[in-house]
């Protein structure tokens, strides 16, 4: 599964893109965030406050209970500040 990080979440995690093997036990976005938070202190720091974390699956915004599969493109980022 491809996981993309943007903006200050990217700088905390230390990479903009990583490929992970999704454990069978992880079936939705909330579970994925819990799993990713254990990968490094940087990941844990990035995901500490879930209120400022937005998740897109296959380039569409989703909620924490959204189901995921190994072929999905996951993007994790803070609230947007364009315009």
């Amino acid at each position: 599964m491809k996981v993309l990080w943007f903006a200050w979440l990217r700088t905390r995690v230390g990479t903009g893109e990583e490929t992970i093997a999704l454990p069978d036990s992880v079936t939705d976005v909330a579970g994925l965030l819990d799993f990713l938070a254990q990968r490094s202190p940087g990941h844990a720091e990035a995901l500490k406050n879930r209120n400022v974390v937005r998740v897109a699956v296959n380039q569409t915004y989703v909620k924490p209970d959204h189901a995921i599969t190994d072929g999905d493109e996951i993007a994790i980022f803070p609230p947007v500040t364009g315009g």
Partner: protein, 152 residues
Amino acid sequence: MAVRVQREDFDIGAELDALTRDRHDIGAVTSFVGLVRDIAGDARIGAMTLEHYPGMTEKELARVEAEANARWQLSATLIVHRFGRLEPGDRIVLCAAASPHREQAFEACHFLIDWLKTSAPFWKLEDTDKGPQWVDAKTTDDAAAARWNKSQ
């Protein structure tokens, strides 16, 4: 209907001309241009870098534009948004809505910028006199976008 995400500057006059050229049914074109300011809160801004999520950005802008066209009677719409390094005074974004009627053009253009500000995946990193700082999302932007919620 058109959305573009680009590093280069845009020519407002040429963009708006293209919207209305050879069209005689358009009575009103409202446009919004966002520019880089040299002040953010109490910090001076030297420049900023706009990061985005290629692919999703275009999808979100197209979704915002399609929603505007569903809600108002529009003859043409346009969103152009830049990314990369920008300096104070540089143009960031252009939104435009053309309609037979001016109220429709005003509301739709206002909606385009309000909605894209809270949904299009762009992030600003400012070079301030206190060092580089990621811009925080504004609650005023959320409130501005929420005004357009249909349930209200």
